[in-house]
């Protein structure tokens, strides 16, 4: 055996036993997953849970542990992301707080729905369909919209864009002024958005930025520059809440796994954030739309394609 072979054997043999997941996995693979998802999260301002959860399950982490642990990891990734956006003044704390109110309420309701679905034994199917439908529709809308925007930019260079469109939501009561976002709108709208995203994120085990970010852009009409920082700010609290809830109810948060993913994730997110700052917003949105569509397509394929194993073994009383 030559030296290079020995080094690569040592490197790829670095197994670590994860105490909660109860499996031994390669630390290099885990760091790579954390780094890759972190890169995307920095680039698009999404937590990346919709990528992280399927990847972790794929390499052998029990689904329940994957979902809960990535919540904890997203907290760390979001903190470093928010601090970076904050230093550039791109966080609307007031808007984040209002969204958060709805988010905490929604995620509590979502956890209830989750346990109800679990009782009916079709939770996996519901999660998969929820992923395909939400990711598929959001990805399509974003792709179409950003392609249109790119065309328009090319047609009339430098023309001032309208801040946001006025719609039915302007007529609702409890109007609030959001200085940073340059909005004067009803608080009902962001609370409702937070609530719906909260439900979805609890059921799907994701932070929900891929739902939140488009909703903030298209429904609230917030400036794109503020959206990512504000969404990250909101996600920190929702995911911290989910982490504690999962620790108390299911004991499925793997601290060691979260630390390794975080280590890879924060490094990836920093580079992602820097690249993201250089790319034009429309191109960034198109790129994110493509990533979302690819994940949705993959999950759809798993739903309809003949599974390699037609049976699944579930240990009762333990984790699935």
């Amino acid at each position: 055996m030559n030296g290079l072979q020995a080094i690569s054997d040592w490197f790829f043999g670095l197994q670590i036993y994860l105490p909660i997941a109860e499996v031994s996995l390669n630390i290099v693979v885990l760091l790579a997953i954390g780094g890759g998802v972190g890169l995307l999260s920095g680039l698009f301002g999404v937590g990346g849970g919709f990528l992280m959860t399927p990847l972790l399950i794929f390499i052998g982490v029990p689904p329940a542990v994957a979902v809960a642990t990535q919540s904890n990891q997203v907290v760390a990734a979001s903190v470093s992301g928010v601090l970076a956006h904050w230093s550039r003044g791109n966080v609307d704390f007031k808007m984040g707080g209002v969204l958060l109110g709805g988010g905490l309420l929604g995620s509590s309701v979502g956890v209830l729905i989750f346990s109800l679905l679990k009782r009916f034994g079709q939770i996996d199917l519901v999660i998969a369909i929820a992923y395909v439908v939400t990711l598929g529709s959001i990805g399509t809308i974003m792709a179409v919209e950003s392609i249109n925007a790119l065309r328009q930019v090319r047609r009339r260079q430098g023309a001032p864009a309208k801040l946001h469109q006025h719609n039915w939501a302007q007529g609702l009561p409890f109007k609030m002024r959001f200085r940073k976002s340059r909005l004067y709108i009803s608080a009902v709208v962001p609370i409702a958005i937070g609530f719906v995203v909260g439900i979805m994120s609890a059921i799907m085990g994701v932070g929900g930025a891929f739902l939140m970010v488009p909703a903030m852009i298209y429904l609230l009409g917030m400036p794109t520059s503020i959206v990512i920082g504000t969404s990250l700010f909101q996600i920190i609290f929702v995911q911290a809440y989910v982490t504690i809830l999962q620790s108390v109810q299911n004991q499925t948060v793997d601290l060691l796994l979260a630390l390794i993913l975080t280590l890879g994730g924060v490094v990836g997110a920093q580079y992602g954030g820097r690249w993201g700052a250089k790319l034009p917003a429309e191109q960034l949105r198109l790129l994110m739309a493509l990533v979302v569509l690819v994940v949705a397509g993959g999950l759809l394929y798993e739903l309809v394609a003949m599974p390699r194993e037609l049976y699944a073994v579930i240990t009762l009383g333990g984790l699935s």
Binding site: P19, A76, L125, T243, L256, T315, L316, G318
Partner: protein, 252 residues
């Protein structure tokens, strides 16, 4: 090998002290598998001696009690069925007393040394494992038990291949069993049989303990005993790491 022979000698000296001399004696080199942070599976050596020439069979069975780890006890096997083009969970069968681990070794192929009847009675060989179905929503239970064996084999928890027990001379024997990193924790049972002329003439049984130890055990126990504090610590650690990362990358 010299140490092995010495251990055998001590054993041989000790055995006559008991009321009746056993025809087969065996032991594991270690009686405990400790799952630590560096754990990536284990290999256990079993050694033993017989008083006269014969065949040896050794079986390791994992814990069947629920809560002995992620596997073991009652398991539900679910079948996916296609409905409206989508694969969804359909019928299921529940099995009880399912061992979390099963491995077997013998000095000769099992069917050469024991009759099918005997293999069945002692549950020797993966296909002789008795998996009693407690509830079923499908008639073809054997398909489900076959799937259970197949999936557990793929995880390395069950081994269909009969390991080899090698004899050193006529008296001393040894073999080894491999445990994957996903082994359930709990008390395992090791059975050793002496076979002559198609009959089991003597047997010995002893436990093997698989438990978490060190850092990984501390984390596991803390998470299960004090979930709220664990969750808060997890969040605080994440906040700290996010902040450190921000500081580390701020100006570059």
């Amino acid at each position: 090998m010299r140490r092995f022979a010495a251990a055998m000698l001590i054993l041989a000296l000790l055995v006559p002290g008991t009321a009746r001399a056993k025809d087969i004696v065996a032991d594991l080199v270690v009686h405990r598998i400790e799952i630590t942070s560096g754990f990536s599976g284990a290999e256990l050596t079993l050694f033993g001696a017989v008083n006269e020439k014969g065949d040896a069979v050794a079986v390791v069975r994992g814990p069947t009690a629920p809560g002995g780890g992620l596997v073991g006890g009652t398991v539900e096997v679910r079948q996916k069925t296609r409905t409206l083009g989508i694969w969804m969970t359909g019928a299921h069968v529940r099995f009880e007393n399912v061992p979390g681990f099963y491995a077997i070794a013998a000095s000769r192929p099992l069917e050469e040394i024991l009759t099918f009847d005997m293999l069945d009675r002692y549950q020797l060989g993966i296909n002789e494992l008795k998996l009693p179905a407690v509830s079923a929503s499908a008639p073809n239970i054997s398909d489900y038990s076959a799937a259970l064996l197949r999936i557990r084999q793929r995880l390395g928890l069950y081994t269909a291949k009969v390991g080899h027990i090698s004899f050193i001379g006529d008296r001393l024997f040894r073999t080894s069993f491999a445990f994957p990193s996903t082994v359930p924790t709990g008390i395992y049972n090791v059975d050793v049989y002496l076979v002559r002329d198609g009959k089991i003439v003597d047997a010995q049984s002893f436990p093997l303990l698989v438990n978490r130890a060190g850092f990984s055990a501390d984390i596991y126990n803390f998470a299960h005993r004090n979930g709220a504090a664990y969750g808060v610590i997890a969040v605080l650690t994440a906040l700290l790491f996010g902040w450190i990362a921000h500081l580390a990358f701020r100006r570059r």
